[in-house]
């Protein structure tokens, strides 16, 4: 009798393994097919890769300025000949990210409660809010920027609104998912005391979700600084327009100078946000 059980177990196991194998094989075939099609459609060839990569490194090399120790000051001065102008553009870029992130967070914050199905009983409202957030998230900021440059004219306002709208979508969706993890327990205590809907949100939800919100917001701010640096490619403000100009005109050392300034800025903001994130989340006064 026990050998029967063993045999049954063995056949079950063999079936499971076979099913798993079939699944893996199927996945492999699909993957390879996707790969083959992509290589053809993407116009990839080993030859292009072999010639392209050396050219890329040559390109990078050409962007580097000639610096010598004897004339370092003058060399640096020549490399960063437009330091102040670029700094001003960089400053604008950060401001664009700042204003856009703020607007996006406010919008995403408000909509995230409507989009959480544990907070809003009406399915029309939370589905509607969800779909809207997903739409805003799907459309890249640059596409919004193309539209907004047409509607609001060239300049940073179009960029701010574009990044804000996309941020609203990304953060709103993430916020809503955090909201949906709020326990009924923490809501009941506030509802039972006679609080209105917005007070239930303020006391039953916000304290619990705020650390997550802050974390995502700071991460997003850093990403938005990067987005703001290219939004100028379509004329929506920031340092992007200048960057595109020097790349298209092959003004090599300017490319490296601007990119270097950009990289340092992004790294500093990355560092600052990381510090702030850990401090705020560790802190209890965050209400």
């Amino acid at each position: 009798m026990s050998s029967d059980a063993v045999r049954l177990f063995e056949t079950r196991r063999a079936e499971q393994i076979a099913a798993r194998r079939r699944q893996t094989a199927l996945f492999g075939v699909v993957f390879l097919a996707a790969f083959a099609v992509s290589v053809v459609v993407g116009e990839v060839s080993l030859e292009r890769l072999a010639t392209g990569l050396p050219r890329f490194f040559a390109y990078i090399e050409r962007t580097l300025p000639t610096l010598s120790l004897a004339t370092l000051g003058a060399d640096l001065g020549r490399w960063f000949w437009n330091f102040e102008g670029w700094l001003r553009l960089l400053f604008d870029t950060i401001l664009i990210a700042f204003v856009a992130t703020t607007l996006g967070v406010i919008g995403g914050f408000l909509l995230s409660f409507a989009a959480a199905k544990n907070l809003v009983a009406n399915p029309w409202i939370h589905h509607g809010a969800r779909r809207f957030l997903e739409l805003m998230r799907t459309v890249p900021e640059l596409v919004f920027a193309l539209f907004f440059v047409f509607a609001f004219g060239l300049g940073p306002m179009a960029g701010v609104l574009a990044i804000a709208l996309h941020t609203l979508g990304v953060l709103g969706k993430l916020f809503a998912e955090i909201n949906e993890n709020v326990t009924a327990k923490s809501l009941d205590g506030v509802v039972a005391a006679g609080a209105s809907f917005d007070q239930v949100i303020r006391f039953g939800v916000v304290p619990q979700v705020l650390p997550g919100f802050v974390s995502y917001t700071l991460l997003r701010f850093e990403i938005n600084v990067r987005s703001a640096s290219v939004i100028g490619f379509v004329g929506a403000g920031g340092i992007g327009q200048e960057l595109m100009f020097v790349i298209n005109q092959f003004i090599y050392t300017d490319i490296s100078a601007i990119l270097l300034m950009l990289i340092v800025t992004v790294a500093l903001i990355d560092l600052g946000c990381e510090k702030l994130r850990h401090r705020l989340i560790g802190q209890e006064s965050l209400k």
């Binding site: 205590g189 506030v190 006679g194 209105s196 209400k287």
Partner: protein, 257 residues
């Protein structure tokens, strides 16, 4: 006076409560006993309207509680303060703000959003905490407190609601014996000093014997006993707890709310 008529609630095929009639006079301390799943929590939640009834009516001093909507419903909830087994405090907020949740319906919307409660409201919260020996802890985070302390904060929250009723759903089921006694003493004192009506779900019979002037027994969603503690004889107990729990001197403490 709280009058409950033919109150019922079903969850799909499950009948949580059926045809319950109960009248509670002002100032009574009523213990509600029954085994796990009998419908005790459902009854209290129905009174506070956290749960909607599927049949019956609840009337309080002539006010039809079951018909209330919107602002009137919220006003009723303030008058029928709930205390939960798991305390239901907001972990990340300090004790005094948790107590002030009981004042939300009395304070302007903007002030509540900014957590800027007026001094008079804050003083009221501190006084309530003082009555429960918790004022020293007013500025601590709620999740830093022991279970018994958290439950006392929850009682303070109920007090500042200036309620007519206190609905306590197994307030001591997650507490150690000493904390449990402190909490029950606090409820008894409030009942005595403020003349507040208390409805208290309990698992343990001896607790009901000690604190309750009147006991209501529920089994499978129906009222099976209603009378003074002294009326609780062996046969009645068996009717409430079922046959297998023949000697439920100290009924299980583990079941969740």
């Amino acid at each position: 006076m709280l009058e409950i008529r033919d109150l019922g609630r079903t969850y799909g095929p499950v009948t949580a409560l059926a045809g319950l009639d109960l009248t509670v006079r002002k100032g009574e301390f009523v213990g509600i006993i029954g085994r796990s799943g009998a419908g005790k929590s459902t009854l209290l939640r129905l009174i506070n309207r956290l749960v909607e009834p599927t049949s019956g009516r609840i009337v309080f001093d002539g006010l039809d509680v079951t018909a209330l909507r919107g602002a009137e419903l919220r006003a009723w909830r303030r008058r029928a303060a709930m205390i939960f087994q798991q305390f239901h405090l907001i972990d990340r907020l300090d004790v005094i703000t948790n107590v002030l949740v009981g004042r939300l319906s009395q304070v302007g919307r903007l002030r509540t959003w900014l957590l800027a409660f007026p001094p008079a409201e804050r003083a009221m919260a501190v006084e309530a905490l003082e009555r429960l020996d918790m004022a020293e802890r007013a500025l601590q985070r709620a999740d830093r407190l022991s279970g018994g302390q958290q439950q006392r904060v929850a009682i303070a929250r109920a007090l500042v609601q200036e309620p007519d009723l206190i609905l306590a759903d197994e307030p001591i089921a997650s507490l150690d014996p000493l904390s449990a006694r402190q909490v029950m003493e606090a409820l008894a004192r409030i009942n005595r000093e403020d003349g507040l009506t208390v409805l208290c779900n309990l698992h343990a019979l001896d607790v009901a014997r000690t604190y309750c002037s009147r006991v209501v027994g529920i089994a499978e969603g129906r009222l099976v006993f209603d009378g003074p503690v002294t009326g609780l004889d062996e046969a009645t107990i068996r009717r409430i707890y079922g046959d297998e729990a023949a000697i439920p001197k100290d009924a299980p403490q583990d079941a969740a709310a």
